[in-house]
């Protein structure tokens, strides 16, 4: 890699990690001030996973996210203003205020959306990959899911079907070690979650999910394999969420020490340190990146809060996709 391209890459990586962190801090703030409602699942502390994984994707690739979907949505290039508008329930949001945080989607960037159902996105991702394969593309699908999702039947069925048909899908486990309050590794009785991949005839790899480069490398291998028509893979990226599961969480199942320990592994600080040390970016560069993102977030909040409230009429009109009578007539 040339110095210039290294700089570009590092800037992009840090920009995206800061976008995720600061977007969610803003969301938290709006929530705290009563300007946002509902529930929120924040991925602060986990930023290296979406950003690392997204480095491996190209236009036309598809992703499915979990309920904790802000990070991947941002990393795939969604507009922060329309995201903020959605979380504020406005008509100019991605989902016209109908979906909110748990259903945020940006289909234009191949992001089929967050999913309020644990493991709900897995069969959908396998289906998108089937579609990519049947349409003769070399595109792939990245299926992000949590460690808690591994307990669901939907997870298993998607793994079975994707493996049977050699589908171009990467199952990326964003393993923050807890499914709400349940410590996953203890529950599943394996040493690492990637030990489960062999049972599906799939390669499996466990990586440090707080290391952007490690995530990018592992997901990159899996993506290449999928693009080459060699079938699905499983990547287990071990990370940690700093915040509670959602707003109802009293955090009784994790110790203060454990949380502190993982805060010390902050993926942003770590990556910043590395690029500083390597001389890829300067301290001033780092500040500039953060400052620019702060402005983006401020703009996003303004964009969102200025959005119109949606109407009942437009909501009701949005339940069904309109039938194209003419088109139908033609094909009869």
């Amino acid at each position: 890699m040339t110095v210039a391209s290294e700089t570009t890459r590092a800037t992009a990586v840090l920009t995206d990690m800061w976008r995720i962190r600061l977007f969610e801090e803003a969301v938290e703030d709006l929530y705290g001030r009563g300007m946002m409602h509902g529930t929120m699942h924040l991925s602060i502390g986990q930023e290296a996973v979406p950003v690392g994984a997204s480095l491996c994707l190209e236009d036309g690739d598809v992703i499915t996210c979990t309920h904790r979907g802000h990070g991947h949505t941002i990393a795939r290039g969604a507009d922060l203003g329309r995201m903020m508008a959605e979380l504020l329930g406005r008509e100019n949001g991605y989902c016209k205020g109908r979906g909110g945080s748990m259903h945020i989607a940006d289909v234009a960037t191949g992001n089929l959306g967050a999913n309020g159902i644990v493991a709900g996105g897995l069969p959908i991702a396998a289906g998108a990959a089937l579609s990519q394969k049947m349409r003769g593309t070399d595109r792939v699908t990245l299926c992000v899911h949590g460690d808690g999702a591994v307990g669901e039947g939907a997870w298993h069925e998607a793994m079975v079907l994707a493996s049977m048909w050699d589908l171009p899908v990467v199952f990326l486990c964003e393993n923050n070690q807890y499914g709400m309050s349940l410590p996953s590794l203890a529950a599943y009785r394996v040493e690492k979650l990637s030990d489960k991949a062999a049972g599906y005839g799939m390669p499996g790899e466990t990586v440090d999910g707080n290391d952007v480069d490690a995530v990018a490398a592992a997901v990159g291998r899996a993506v290449e394999r999928a693009r080459a028509g060699q079938g699905p893979s499983f990547v287990d990226a071990v990370t940690y969420r700093w915040r509670g599961h959602s707003k109802s969480d009293k955090n009784l199942y994790r110790s203060k020490d454990e949380i502190a320990e993982w805060r010390d592994k902050d993926p942003i600080a770590r990556y910043s340190g590395q690029v500083l040390e390597a001389g890829v970016l300067t301290a001033a560069d780092l500040d500039a990146i953060q400052a620019a993102v702060r402005q983006e977030i401020r703009d996003a909040v303004v964009f969102g809060t200025r959005g119109a409230e949606p109407t009942v009429e437009s909501m009701l009109a949005g339940v069904y996709a309109p039938v194209d009578e003419q088109g139908a007539e033609d094909r009869a």
Binding site: E86, R98, G113, P123
Partner: protein, 330 residues
């Protein structure tokens, strides 16, 4: 169109799938044993030979997974048909049907739609007992975002399936196991159908019978017998129960003043309770000369014993008896 041919309901379903696959390369079929086995009820037969195993895909026994894959494929440019071997196993797939397929278009603010067709045979009469004989249409009719189709004859089985495949929304087509082998007169080309349009299957003036699926056939037989008794029954088949052709039903009720609602499903909380409520809270309320009457399945899981099984759901005799009573007593 005017020339008719004889065809079973299963053949009509197969032909419609073949027509759609010929016309549109985005259409494909996934399901358990739909390939070389030819389908548990022989619906697919040689379809996999004609279209290959890429487009007629045998799956593992994973109902939730395959419906979900249908959702994913539908979201990304394909037009999948997913067969659920018995409609009872939609229970396995409810999350993908209800929480995903039905809601995605809405939840993403219209950014995407889910043109997925799910076919599933329901109903009793084959001695398959409680886990293979249910009529679960009421579950789906209650879900905004879904369309629900119940073909009662071969022509509709083909025509409505083609209409479902044209629709940008998820459509569940509830076929009936007993009808699969039944032969019908079918036009040379399937007529164009529109989801949400019911049909008067037989005109009459003394009472309106609204029936679904196999009960439409039984109601037509009953109407024949009623005619012999001097009772003129109008028989309506809604064909799709969501959206429901309320207008057609109300107009008929206004004309006849009496209505018998017939379904195979368990009465309590069944779809016909919706039809009843819709009628009585409508303008047709004033025209009612008798209370709306429902004739439905008994309040029991479907039993194995064949006599009990028959007794559990409305048969022709039951319809004749109820219809005659409705006309004579009121």
């Amino acid at each position: 169109m005017s020339e008719m041919r004889t065809m079973t309901y299963a053949e009509a379903v197969r032909e419609a799938m073949a027509i759609a696959m010929e016309a549109d390369e985005r259409v494909f079929l996934m399901g358990e044993d739909v390939g070389i086995y030819g389908g548990a009820f022989g619906v697919e037969n040689d379809l996999y030979e004609r279209f290959g195993t890429e487009r007629v895909r045998d799956t593992t026994i994973s109902e939730l997974g395959i419906v979900g894959m249908g959702v994913g494929a539908a979201l990304t440019g394909m037009r999948p048909i997913v067969e659920i071997q018995f409609s009872d196993f939609t229970a396995q797939a409810m999350d993908q049907i209800v929480n995903q397929a039905a809601k995605i278009h809405f939840m993403v603010g219209g950014q995407a739609s889910v043109p997925l067709v799910i076919r599933a045979p329901g109903g009793s009469g084959t001695g398959a007992a409680a886990q293979h004989s249910q009529s679960l249409e009421a579950w789906f009719a209650h879900v905004p975002g879904l369309k629900v189709v119940m073909p009662s004859n071969a022509t509709d089985a083909g025509a409505l399936l083609l209409a479902a495949l044209e629709d940008p929304n998820p459509v569940i087509v509830l076929e009936h196991k007993l009808l699969y082998k039944q032969s019908f007169a079918v036009p040379a080309t399937f007529p164009k159908a529109r989801l949400g349009e019911g049909r008067i299957e037989r005109e009459g003036s003394d009472l309106t019978i609204v029936a679904t699926s196999v009960e439409v056939q039984r109601s037509l037989e009953a109407a024949e017998q009623l005619a012999a008794q001097g009772i003129s029954a109008e028989v309506i088949d809604p064909r799709t129960i969501r959206p429901l052709d309320t207008e057609l039903i109300l107009s008929s009720v206004e004309k006849t003043g009496r209505v018998l609602l017939v379904q195979e499903a368990v009465k309590f909380g069944g779809f016909m309770s919706e039809v009843s409520a819709t009628i009585t809270e409508s303008r047709a309320f004033g025209a009612l000369q008798a209370p709306v009457r429902r004739l439905c399945g008994l309040d029991t899981p479907i039993p194995y014993n064949p006599k009990l099984e028959r007794a559990s759901v409305p048969q022709v005799d039951d319809i004749v008896r109820e219809a005659a009573a409705l006309v004579r007593e009121w």
